[in-house]
């Protein structure tokens, strides 16, 4: 059996990190998430990765517990929780399978966008099914020609009667092809961000097709495909917010998305630190366990310290976002930048501590490394995070 997390992980929450400073209610949320991760996800994470399985049934079980629309409003089926509650939950779920949790977080982001910016008709049409994961969602912003320069996107949406006709393609779409609801940023107006609108496109709409499934280093429990629009007609009533508001909506979605992705990195790093600790406590060389080596003790201490620092920053960013503070966008960018970088380094060092075993797929640590590597790239590269932070610092207020 692969050495994945077991229920053991939640045991350490009392003394270290994840549950300190939480309310009783948050500890309950965390407990459910940890238990679900240990029982329903961890035993399968290797299989999902190796066989590229999109675990629909498991995600629907998670949705039954309220994980499908964690910060979506209850009247449309969501759990109505805060961004901090959400961060705690994704961090815990991620210890079971980081790739699947990351997809669940993207799904949540889309559900929130429809809940927040959609008309009541749209909310009532899509949110209940998304919250129960009867239907799955994808976030479509990136294109072959516009990644970091997202506002230069080219997918056009020409108004024809009471429909927008979409033409163009999106790249690297998580869930693409297997999901049912696509939240698409497209150009209804002139150049730049102010010409962009956001529309909801359902699978099965004529003119909507998908590229081949990408072969990835990690995130293999979610399919990634190009999403192609060829004279794809979408009702105007499927637009979120007003024309020209789409880029703003996309960025607001990503603020939360960045906290979520950072939280997934925290979970992977937490699991990896415990895996490394357990391994060096057992592995013997030169007549004693590796845990007697001061170098490894110090390395482990540094890893744990950076993990706690990352966690504090992510949780502060979550608080700032839910309180709508002026520094929220900058903090979310800082949290995403810092936590994804630090946690990748932590997971990588945890792999190193496993020696040769760390390189074998029988051991979970390599999957955490592979799965969180992409967190430094998507939802805004860590370079773009620096752009946002610098702009905030240099702008005269």
């Amino acid at each position: 059996l692969p050495l994945t997390c077991s229920k053991q992980w939640s045991v350490n929450t009392v003394r270290r990190g994840p549950s300190t400073g939480l309310t009783d209610e948050q500890k309950e949320f965390q407990k459910v998430a940890f238990d679900f991760a240990a029982n329903e996800m961890a035993p399968h994470m290797a299989e999902w990765d190796q066989n590229e399985i999109f675990p629909v049934e498991t995600m629907r079980k998670a949705a039954q517990l309220g994980f499908g629309g964690i910060y979506v409003r209850p009247e449309v089926g969501g759990s109505g929780l805060s961004r901090l509650d959400t961060s705690i939950i994704f961090e815990a779920l991620s210890t079971g399978c980081t790739s699947t949790t990351a997809y669940i977080s993207i799904h949540n982001m889309c559900a929130w966008m429809i809940d927040t910016f959609g008309s009541n008709e749209l909310r009532e049409k899509f949110c209940p099914d998304l919250c129960s994961m009867e239907k799955f969602a994808s976030y479509c912003l990136t294109e072959p020609g516009s990644g970091s320069d997202a506002a230069s996107l080219l997918t056009s949406a020409k108004l024809q009667g009471d429909h927008y006709v979409l033409n163009g393609s999106k790249a690297f779409i998580s869930g693409g092809g297997d999901t049912d609801v696509y939240v698409v940023m497209c150009r209804t107006g002139g150049k730049g961000p102010k010409g962009i609108s956001c529309v909801v496109v359902e699978k099965g709409t004529p003119g909507l097709s998908f590229g081949k499934k990408e072969k990835k280093v990690g995130w293999n429990s979610q399919p990634t495909r190009a999403v192609i629009f060829e004279d794809c007609a979408v009702p105007v009533t499927n637009r979120l917010g007003s024309e020209g508001q789409g880029f703003n909506i996309a960025m607001k979605g990503l603020n939360g998305g960045r906290i979520n992705i950072a939280s997934c990195s925290l979970g992977a790093a937490h699991a990896s630190v415990l895996l490394a600790r357990d391994h060096i406590s057992v592995r013997k060389q030169f007549g004693e366990t590796l845990s007697n080596s001061q170098f490894l003790q110090f390395k482990l201490a540094e890893m744990a310290t950076r993990l706690v620092a990352s966690r504090l920053l992510v949780r502060q960013a979550a608080l700032a976002l839910q309180e709508d503070r002026p520094d929220a966008v900058s903090l979310c960018s800082m949290a995403k930048l810092f936590a994804t970088d630090e946690c990748f380094s932590i997971c990588n060092q945890a792999l190193q501590m496993h020696g040769g075993y760390g390189y074998l797929k029988d051991y979970a640590v390599q999957q955490f490394v592979r799965d969180i590597r992409v967190h430094q790239i998507l939802e805004g590269t860590n370079e773009v995070m620096r752009m946002i932070i610098a702009r905030d610092l240099l702008t005269e207020s």
Partner: protein
């Protein structure tokens, strides 16, 4: 059918924790150690909630005895679907010496006070493994008992209980009011859902003192010493079956 079910839930050290004996050998280390609801108590709560969902029971009341921290355990029961909780306040030395005899007296008194007609408990706690509280509670109330239940069904004003015993499965029919203790295969407890955890916050937990129930907490037992189990000794390899039989006879095993 039974209007009110009492479910006892015990806060114990989490099953995944590596237990350590205190240096003074008076007990095990509990400070800073992860605690959770006794797994058999979870099964008991789940059964009670299922009875309520089948509309065979009107109200599920979760009870726990101990210091402030046991309220976490009661909240978990509320998040699983119990309607309200009762926290019987016991702390300090009284809590250290709290055992099945005291708890069963408390449960019996509460059952009368709350006019409960069914008590469901876990068959035993994973810390002391006593397997006595259900039986003692039934005796104090002079109620029938269905212990080690792997299945419970309501048949009119009686309960059919299938018990897991050494010889296999025994089916009994008992009158209500009754005490049932849950065994492992009775059910698989549900995860608390996020909405239910939030609803649990609004559910009431009342505080009660053992004295108010007329219960004397004096223990009849004194723990003299707690030690770790002996270290596992190395084994011996033998060449033949005859050698094996010889060694077993030497060790007085056969």
């Amino acid at each position: 059918m039974a209007a009110r079910v009492l479910v006892g839930v015990k806060r114990v050290i989490d099953y995944a924790v590596k237990i350590r004996v205190k240096p003074d050998n008076t007990g095990v280390v509990t400070d800073g150690v992860k605690h959770s609801m006794n797994p058999f108590c979870e099964i008991a709560v789940e059964e009670a909630v299922r009875l309520k969902e089948k509309k065979l029971v009107k109200e599920v009341v979760a009870v726990s005895c101990g210091p402030q921290q046991v309220q976490e355990t009661i909240r978990t029961a509320l998040a699983m679907g119990a309607d309200r909780g009762i926290h019987v306040e016991v702390s300090g030395k009284d809590y250290d010496s709290l055992g099945p005899l005291q708890v069963s007296k408390i449960l019996a008194a509460l059952a009368k006070k709350e006019e409960a007609s069914l008590i469901i408990l876990g068959k035993q706690a994973i810390d002391d493994d006593c397997n006595q509280t259900g039986q003692m509670t039934a005796a104090l109330l002079d109620w029938p008992q269905g212990t080690f239940a792997s299945e419970v069904a309501v048949e009119g004003d009686k309960l059919k209980v299938i018990r897991e015993v050494d010889g296999g499965l025994e089916t009994i029919k008992i009158n209500l009011p009754a005490v049932v203790t849950a065994d492992l295969r009775l059910n698989t407890p549900r995860y608390a859902t996020l909405p239910n955890i939030m609803k649990a916050k609004k559910k009431k937990i009342t505080n009660v003192k053992p004295g108010d129930l007329g219960v004397d907490l004096t223990s009849r037992l004194e723990v003299l010493r707690v030690d770790e189990p002996p270290q596992r000794q190395a084994g011996v390899k033998v060449e033949t079956v005859e050698d094996l039989v010889g060694k077993l006879k030497e060790a007085g095993r056969i």
